[in-house]
C-alpha cells in the first residue's frame, strides 16, 4: 500500500493516530473552523475529497475557462461527482467545486449579511421556519467573518442591517455602466449602493489587489478574490494536517450511538483509512453534508446518522436568478472586470412578495470579444466586423430571489447509481412553487422598469421559466431548537450525537436572498467557539 494513496506525489495520506478534531471538507466552512481550532492549539486533521490546485497554474486555468475544448478548470464531473435529479434539473456540478478551498475556488465572491427578518420569517410572516439565533447573535461573527475574508465595502447601503464598524477594505468604485443606471434609478426612486466583495481593492492578508483580469468566476489568477485556500494555509501554518484526495465514505459511531468514533476515507488506490478524533465537523457543502449523513446509516440510525428528525436532506433550497438584458445606443463598457459594483436591496424586506429579492447591476452584460472570437466561424476582417457589431452596447441586470423551504425539495441517495467508490450518488429533487415564480416575476418587473426608463431595448429576460439556481445549496441539515424538527442546534452541533458538528449553508432554516457565504463563515466562527469550549 502506497502511503500517498496512489496519487503518485509521495505525500503521506495515512491517518494520524488520533486527533482532537477531524474536519471533513476544506471549503470556507471547514477551513475557518480548522484554522481557529488549530490556532488555539488543537490537533486538527482536515479530510478533503478533491485535489490541491497549485496557485501557479491559475493563468493556465483561466485559459481553460476562456478557450473552448480545454475542459473545466476545476475538473468537476465524471463518476466521482455523479448525481441524478428529479423535478427541475439542478446542475449540481456547475454549482460546486471539490478541492482544497472548496467552491470558493470558483465562486464570485459577493458577501452580504442576511437581514434581521431572515432569522424570523415564521414569526414575522408565517412562512418558513425561525432560526434559533437572531441577527444580534450573529452580528459580531459577521464582523469577524468580514475581516477574515477581507471584504471591500462601504457604509452607503441604507437597507443593510445595522453595523458599527466600517468594512476592512474600501469598496470598489462604481462602474461606468452603474452611472448610466443611476440616472434612470433616480427618476424611478430606486436606490443604488455599493456591493460588499470578498476581493482585494487593496493588498490585504498577503494577497494582491485586484488586477482586472475579469474572470473572477471561475478563476482569479491574481489571488485578489478570496478563496478558502487562504484559511487552509493558515490552518496548516498553525499545525493542522490537510489530506487531499481523501473523500470520506462514512462516519462510524460507538456502540451507544452517542458519539462518532471515526471517519472512514478512501484514497484513489481504493484503500480505506480510519481517522479517529474526539470531535467531528462536517463541512462538505449543502448537498454532500446531507449525503454523508445518509451514507452513514447504522442500526441505531437506519434513516441516516443524526437523522432522528427525518429532516436530513429535506428543505433543500437555492436562490433563483432573475435577470433582464438590453442594448443601448451608446457604449456601456462591459466585461472589463468580472464582479459587480452596485446593487439595490430596497425591495428586500417588502411584504409583497414576502420572498426577499436583491437586484444587481451587472458589469458583464453581453459577449466578451475574446470568447465570441473563439466561437466564431470566421476570422480576419470579417471576424472583427462581427465583434464590433456585438460588443459595446449591452446592459443588464441580475438578481436573486428567495426560495422558501419545502420538505419535498430534498437530497436522497439514488440506489441505482454509484460513484467511483461504489456509494449511491446524491439524488436532487427540486421544484419551484407558484409563489417563488411570482416573486421572480416581480423582480423582472422592476428590472424591466429600470431598463425601459434607461431607454434601452430589452432583448432577453430570465423569468420563472428560464430561471436557474444561483449555486447556493441550503437547508438540508437545518438548525433549530427542537430535535424532532431539526438536525443541528444553534451552535451547529447535531441533536443526536454529542461530538458531531455540521457547518455550512445546509444548516440554514431559511435562506433569504443574500449570497450565503458570509453567513456560512460567521456560523463557522461561532461553531468554532462552541467546539473549542467542548474540548
Amino acid at each position: 500500500m502506497a502511503e500517498d494513496g496512489g496519487v503518485g506525489d509521495s505525500i503521506d495520506r495515512t491517518p494520524a493516530s488520533s486527533a482532537d478534531v477531524c474536519v471533513v471538507g476544506s471549503g470556507p466552512a471547514g477551513a475557518l473552523v480548522a484554522h481557529r481550532l488549530a490556532a488555539q492549539g488543537a490537533d486538527v486533521v482536515v479530510l478533503e475529497a478533491g485535489p490541491r490546485f497549485d496557485f501557479a497554474g491559475r493563468r493556465e486555468q483561466q485559459e481553460e475557462h476562456i478557450r473552448p475544448g480545454m475542459g473545466d478548470p476545476w475538473e468537476m464531473g465524471g463518476p466521482r461527482d455523479d448525481y441524478t435529479t428529479a423535478g427541475r434539473h439542478y446542475p449540481l456540478n456547475a454549482a460546486r467545486v471539490k478541492g482544497v478551498g472548496g467552491s470558493t475556488l470558483h465562486w464570485q465572491g459577493m458577501v452580504m449579511r442576511l437581514h434581521e427578518r431572515d432569522f424570523e420569517m415564521e414569526t414575522r410572516h408565517g412562512v418558513g421556519a425561525d432560526w434559533p439565533i437572531d441577527y444580534d447573535d450573529l452580528r459580531p461573527y459577521y464582523a469577524e467573518a468580514e475581516r477574515a475574508l477581507g471584504v471591500a465595502g462601504a457604509m452607503d447601503n441604507p437597507y443593510a442591517p445595522p453595523r458599527e464598524e466600517p468594512f476592512p477594505l474600501s469598496a470598489f468604485p462604481p462602474s461606468y455602466s452603474d452611472s448610466l443606471f443611476a440616472e434612470a434609478c433616480e427618476r424611478l426612486g430606486i436606490d443604488m449602493h455599493s456591493v460588499p466583495n470578498a476581493r482585494n481593492s487593496e493588498p490585504y492578508d498577503g494577497r494582491a489587489p485586484c488586477q482586472g483580469y475579469g474572470t473572477c468566476r471561475p478563476v482569479c489568477p491574481s489571488g485578489a478574490k478570496y478563496t478558502a485556500e487562504s484559511h487552509v494555509t493558515k490552518a496548516e501554518s498553525a499545525g493542522a494536517r490537510v489530506i487531499d484526495h481523501a473523500p470520506v465514505q462514512r462516519l462510524e459511531h460507538d456502540d451507544t450511538g452517542e458519539v462518532v468514533e471515526r471517519a472512514v476515507y478512501a484514497t484513489p488506490d481504493g484503500t480505506e483509512h480510519h481517522q479517529r478524533a474526539r470531535r467531528f465537523v462536517l463541512a462538505c457543502g449543502g448537498v454532500e453534508n446531507a449525503r454523508l449523513l445518509l451514507l452513514s446509516e447504522s442500526e441505531q440510525y437506519p434513516g441516516g446518522l443524526a437523522n432522528s428528525s427525518d429532516a436530513v436532506g429535506r428543505f433543500f433550497m437555492d436562490h433563483l436568478f432573475a435577470g433582464a438584458g438590453a442594448r443601448l445606443d451608446e457604449p456601456t463598457r462591459q466585461n472589463h472586470v468580472g464582479f459587480i459594483t452596485s446593487e439595490c436591496h430596497q425591495f428586500y424586506d417588502d411584504e409583497n412578495p414576502i420572498e426577499g429579492t436583491k437586484l444587481e447591476f451587472l458589469n458583464y452584460a453581453g459577449p466578451s470579444p475574446v470568447i465570441e472570437a473563439l466561437h466564431a466561424e470566421t476570422w480576419g476582417d470579417e471576424l472583427l466586423t462581427q465583434l464590433r457589431d456585438s460588443y459595446g452596447t449591452h446592459i443588464a441586470m441580475g438578481g436573486l430571489v428567495e426560495q422558501l423551504p419545502d420538505a419535498e425539495n430534498r437530497i436522497t441517495l439514488d440506489p441505482n447509481r454509484r460513484d467511483d467508490h461504489g456509494n449511491p450518488v446524491p439524488h436532487v429533487e427540486w421544484s419551484l412553487s407558484d409563489r417563488t415564480k411570482r416573486a421572480i416575476r416581480r423582480a423582472n418587473d422592476v428590472q424591466h422598469a429600470i431598463l425601459e426608463e434607461l431607454g434601452a431595448s430589452i432583448e432577453w429576460t430570465v423569468g420563472p421559466e428560464a430561471t436557474g439556481p444561483a449555486y447556493h445549496q441550503m437547508g438540508t441539515t437545518r438548525m433549530g431548537g427542537d430535535p424532532d424538527e431539526s438536525v443541528v442546534d444553534a451552535d451547529c452541533r447535531t441533536h443526536d450525537l454529542s461530538n458531531l458538528w455540521v457547518v455550512g449553508s445546509s444548516v440554514f432554516p431559511t435562506g433569504g436572498a443574500m449570497n450565503p457565504t458570509l453567513t456560512i463563515a460567521a456560523l463557522s466562527l461561532r461553531a468554532a467557539e462552541s467546539l473549542s469550549a467542548s474540548l
Binding site: P68, G69, S201, G214, R333, N335, H336, P369, R388
Partner: protein, 195 residues
C-alpha cells in the same frame, strides 16, 4: 561559497531567461528538442514563421508588430508548457504538410489568400477545437484558437473592438470606471500591448 552562489545565479538567470524570451525557432527539429522526427510530419519552416503567417490570416488587416506579438504572447505564453508546445508544433507540422501536398509549398511561403483557403478548405472555420480530434480540430485548437485567444485577450485585439482591458488581461481597475477608451480608435500596434 562564492562559486556556488555564482552557479545558483546562473541557473536562476537561465530559468528566467527561458521564460521571458520564448524559443525563437523550431531549432532544426529532433536534435534540439529530442522529439522523434518520424512521429509526425516535419515542419519545413521556422515555427514562428508559420504562426505569423497564420496570424496574418486570422488577425484583421493592418495589425503592426504582429510577429513580435506572436513571439511573445503565443510562443512565450506556452514556453513552459511542454505538452502543449508539442501539440502546437505538431498541428503546425500537419498544416505545413497539407500546404506542401495541396499547393506544393510550405505554408509560410504561400500568399495570404492561399493560406486562408487552405484553412477554410480543411473546415477549420466550423471545426470543434479539440486537441485530440482530427487534424482540422487540432488546427482549430492549437493554431486558430491559440492565436485568436492571444490577440483578443490582449489590448492589441481588444482595442480594435472597443475594450482596452479585455478578459484575460490584467489591465487594472480603472478602465471599467471610464466611459470611453483612451486614444480611441486606438493604434493597432500589436507589439505595444503591456501583457
Amino acid at each position: 561559497m562564492a562559486a556556488l552562489a555564482a552557479a545558483g545565479a546562473t541557473v536562476g538567470g537561465g530559468v528566467l531567461f527561458g521564460r521571458m524570451v520564448p524559443p525563437r525557432s523550431d531549432g532544426g527539429g529532433a536534435a534540439s528538442d529530442g522529439r522523434d522526427p518520424s512521429a509526425a510530419p516535419s515542419l519545413s519552416s521556422d515555427l514562428l514563421d508559420l504562426l505569423d503567417a497564420t496570424a496574418e490570416v486570422l488577425y484583421p488587416d493592418g495589425v503592426e508588430g504582429r510577429r513580435d506579438f506572436v513571439e511573445t504572447y503565443v510562443l512565450g505564453r506556452v514556453s513552459d508548457r511542454s505538452d502543449y508546445r508539442d501539440g502546437l508544433r505538431e498541428a503546425a507540422a500537419q498544416l505545413d504538410a497539407v500546404a506542401r501536398d495541396w499547393e506544393g509549398s510550405p505554408y509560410a511561403e504561400l500568399d495570404a489568400d492561399a493560406r486562408d483557403r487552405i484553412l477554410r478548405n480543411l473546415g477549420v472555420e466550423t471545426a470543434d477545437p479539440d486537441p485530440e480530434g482530427p487534424i482540422s480540430d487540432r488546427i482549430r485548437f492549437y493554431l486558430v484558437d491559440d492565436l485568436l485567444f492571444a490577440f483578443y485577450s490582449s489590448p492589441a485585439g481588444g482595442r480594435l473592438v472597443g475594450i482596452e482591458n479585455p478578459i484575460g488581461h490584467p489591465g487594472g481597475i480603472e478602465s471599467y470606471q471610464r466611459g470611453t477608451m483612451p486614444d480611441a480608435p486606438g493604434n493597432t500596434n500589436g507589439g505595444e500591448s503591456d501583457g
